[in-house]
Amino acid sequence: MAAPGILRRQSIDVPLLVTALLLTVFGLAMVFSAGQTDMPDKGLETLWQRQLAFFGVAMAATWVITRGSVRLIEWSAWPLYLMACIMLLLLQFLGSGAGTAASTKQWLTIGGVRLGQPAELAKLATTFMLARVLASQRDTVTSMRELWKPLLVVAVPWVLVLATKDLGTALTFIGICFAMLFWAGVPWPVLLMLASPGISLVLAFSTGVWGAWFLILVALVLWYRPYLLEGVVLVVANVVMGVVAPVLWDKLKPYQQQRFLVFLDPSVDAQGSGYNVIQSQVAIGSGGLFGKGFTLGSQKRLNFLPEQQTDFIFSVVGEELGFVGVVVALSLFLALFLRSTRIAVRAADAFPSLVAFGLMSAWFVHVMVNVGMTLNLMPVTGIPLPFFSYGGSFLLVSWLAVAVLLRISAEGRGQADALGL
């Protein structure tokens, strides 16, 4: 183990740092480009400068975090988690929405000033907390009952986030949860059984498909033989989900139903909710192999592309830099994730390993959902793209994650398979 508290020069994880820096610079350039339109908008034009300022703050915070030990993070998990939950709770009273998500309560707002999005902090805190709980679980998990602690850790902020109507972030919590359970060695049948009610909910729209899924589930239960009670609860839960889904669908707000229908076919509402996705596809598709040139995307310049500085910033990449630019951006993300996975593998022990994998998976969910959304592979949930989308607290949190990874990497260098994987 490396000497704690001292980050020696040679122990900096250069590939991780460089990849993250490249992504940030790339993102800054795209935020700059997003401000270049034919109908000049002062607010948009200067965003990149503000983003640069946030980056400065983020770098300072990163430097500070890398000073501290992983143990410090482990110790601070509880207070951070509690603070995040309280802030999420406060959103119910002080929350406000912005932009396309004006009806939500994502922003902590005091006296009309938007201070930040507590959900971003909650993601970090929950990752730490979950890592802590899972790391303390010595025995291999074989039943769902044994997972009540980690599940509760995720459930509390998840419910609070859902209460702010921020569907995208809520989805991220589920992603983090499953990724970390997987990393902690929970057997896949258990994970599958855990996920089954959710799967039932989605598949319930087609009775035939749901029926097939239900048979598979019953087979799985019979083969894996969980506790009787667990098995019964599971089957009942799936039946209930299958039955309530249509009822639940009716209970959804029209705009939520619309979002789902538009995801299946954007042209059902080409001028309304499908407009964003269609224009994004057109922007990306018309970019071709080499793109229309940096800052020269016509879809963006002429305001056909919505939210080009936040949710749909990747469409600008596709339009202006073409397939080549997209491959470069995606490769950088893949490199970042592979490096993070490597850090998780080589971490000193279970806690940092789980934290590293959790942070990576949070990013992963963001990238998949955001980038997928621009091509209508994912429903439009309005979650931002790490390092690219304009937004102070999000950039800050992304770099905090980088800092934590750098620290874990420094402490765990050379020691593979901390979890015995």
Binding site: D38, A283, F304, G322, L338
Partner: protein, 573 residues
């Protein structure tokens, strides 16, 4: 395991981008182009219409059109609202603009086809307030002699929704100009303005961001001019003569070719006021006018041909060998003829015992009653059909009405019932009355055969190969005698008062009874009598007697022939 999943997920994502950006690239490029580029039509000029001497009948003047690009009807409405605060747009124009937009939403909706200079300068000044506003030059139609040629050329107007649905106007777009009536309509395909186009770049809210240079402009093309057989000077002269007081029609043809020298209908109207949209007050005025100026009397007016038709009776009688110009009838004219009842001659004093030539000159009804009886009803009806009195002429103009002529006695059975008529109708028919209504155009056509060799020429406004059709079978001597008789009409007959110094004119007067109105005056003839250059048919409604028409006709013919002489005197090099 985790790494494999990561790589797989990113490969899938990359694949999706490859599909959109490389495989489906063209489709999306097209869509992004149609997003940002709006085609703005560049209105072209219609073909110029010339008369036979190269004088302009219809041309184009520079004008301006004002249109606006809007994404939706609502935004168009709000744009119109804000425009109406700056310039005057009445509600009818607003409704029209919305209708134009609905018919072609991707094209700029035309607000003014022909905007005044003042409107254009006001809008140019405040252009920044109205994104999407497009002001451009749009040639507008102009007729230098509008009143003189109204019945001939017609006018242009915006294409109607009904027309857009017609196969003839396939490829036309809402807001475009199309010929209405007359030559403008007949030769629409040749005269049609060949629209050009340019592209402007718009943003998501349809605001024009870049006006030019976005993509190469396609300039409008000028169609070749339309050359006609018309003599504009004669048209003008006819208009001058009819003035504001007379009403009727004139048709002048070249006897050999059928080339139309003039088509005029009075009262006339100002077709220039129809360009860019006729005002409803002017249109109403024309529609409610007592004498219906919009009615083209030359082609659509059907009048009893009266005595001008007696030549048909004469020709049929000569063809059958019943008469020559020297033949006298059994009964001399004593002012009337008894056939079941008394049929009067127009001259109560009677014409006495006269030959056919004299009967033509004096227009004696009694002579023709007897000739008609000899020909008999069946042969007269069939002969009339053969002479073309039951058919339209086939002139290259829209709106020609088919004359009324009973093809056989079945016509009377149908119309009055088998017992509702008797064969004495042949008397009325042989003097051009009863169930016989001819257009001035058709009468002129018949006289082209009398003026030449028995062949009638199809009237043609636009220069083409002449089409001639044999009407009757008379020997050259017989024809000559008919022509001499027609010349006598003017030299010492019913049109003697219309003589012109140094010009021999042949023709026939007619006085049609159209109760309760006063009699209508006809003259159909040609000049010079020995070598005809012009055949002219004229009708003057309530002109009282054919001699009135003859006076106008001879003046017109003189005018045409004299100017023709001067024109020919100019050496052509």
């Amino acid at each position: 395991m985790a790494r494999v999943l990561l790589v797989a997920a990113f490969t899938t994502l990359g694949g999706a981008f490859f599909r959109a950006q490389v495989l489906r690239n063209e489709e999306f490029v097209l869509r992004s182009e149609s997003n940002r580029l709006r085609e703005v039509p560049l209105p072209g000029a219609r073909g110029i219409i010339y008369d036979r001497h190269g004088q302009i009948i219809a041309e184009n003047l520079p004008g301006y059109s004002v249109s606006i690009l809007s994404p939706t009807v609502d935004s168009l409405r709000s744009a119109l609202r804000s425009l109406s605060r700056v310039i005057e747009i009445d509600s009818a124009q607003q409704v029209l603009a919305v209708r134009r937009f609905r018919a072609a939403p991707t094209r700029p909706a035309v607000i003014f086809n022909d905007a005044s200079f003042q409107v254009v300068s006001v809008l140019e000044e405040r252009r920044a307030e109205f994104p999407g506003l497009i002001i451009q030059s749009a040639p507008k139609r102009y007729y230098p002699d509008a009143q003189a040629v109204a019945a001939l050329v017609g006018y242009t107007g915006e294409i109607s929704e009904k027309q857009l649905a017609m196969p003839r106007y396939e490829g036309y777009k809402a807001g475009q100009q199309v010929g209405r009536e007359g030559l403008e309509m007949q030769y629409e395909e040749q005269l049609r303005a060949r629209e050009g186009s340019r592209f402007v770049e718009v943003d998501a809210r349809n605001r024009v961001v870049r006006d030019n240079g976005v993509r190469a402009e396609v300039p409008p093309e000028a169609p070749p001019p339309l050359r006609t057989n018309i003599d504009l000077d004669l048209q003008r002269y006819a208009h001058e003569y009819f003035g504001d007081s007379l009403r009727g029609a004139v048709v002048a043809l070249e006897p050999e070719t059928g080339g139309v020298l003039a088509i005029y209908s009075a009262p006339s109207y100002d077709i220039n006021r129809f360009i860019g949209g006729v005002s409803s007050s002017y249109y109403r005025e024309l529609q409610e006018h007592k004498y219906k100026p919009l009615f083209n009397r030359a082609l659509s007016g059907r009048y009893p041909p009266a005595s001008t038709w007696k030549l048909a009776t004469a020709v049929l009688g000569m063809e059958l060998g019943l008469v020559t110009m020297e033949t006298h009838q059994e009964q001399p004219c004593t002012g009337g003829y008894y056939y079941g009842r008394v049929f009067k001659c127009w001259d109560k004093r009677g014409h006495g015992d006269i030959s056919l030539a004299q009967a033509i000159a004096k227009s004696c009804d009694v002579y023709f009653y007897q000739l008609g009886l000899k020909i008999g009803l069946t042969r007269l009806l069939a002969g009339g059909v053969r002479l073309g009195f039951g058919d339209s002429t086939g002139i290259d103009m829209p709106g020609e009405k088919t004359p009324i002529w009973p093809a056989s006695t079945a016509y009377f059975d149908r119309r009055y019932g088998p017992r509702g008529w008797n064969r004495s109708v042949v008397l009325s028919l042989s003097i051009g009355q009863a169930n016989n209504s001819q257009t001035p155009l058709n009468m002129a056509r018949f006289y082209t055969a009398l003026a030449t060799d028995g062949y009638a020429a199809t009237p043609q406004v636009v220069a083409r190969t002449p089409e001639r059709k044999k009407l009757f079978d008379l020997s050259p001597e017989q024809l000559k005698s008919v022509q001499l008789a027609l010349a006598d009409v003017v030299s010492r007959g019913t049109a003697a008062g219309a003589q012109v110094q140094g010009l021999t004119i042949a023709g026939k007067t007619g006085t049609a009874q159209v109760p309760p109105e006063e009699d209508y005056a006809w003259f159909v003839g040609y000049a010079p009598a020995d070598k005809p250059k012009i055949v002219l048919a004229i009708i003057i409604e309530e002109g009282l007697h054919g001699s009135t028409a003859a006076k106008v006709a001879t003046k017109l013919m003189e005018r045409y022939l004299k100017t023709k002489l001067t024109m020919n005197a100019v050496p052509t090099d």
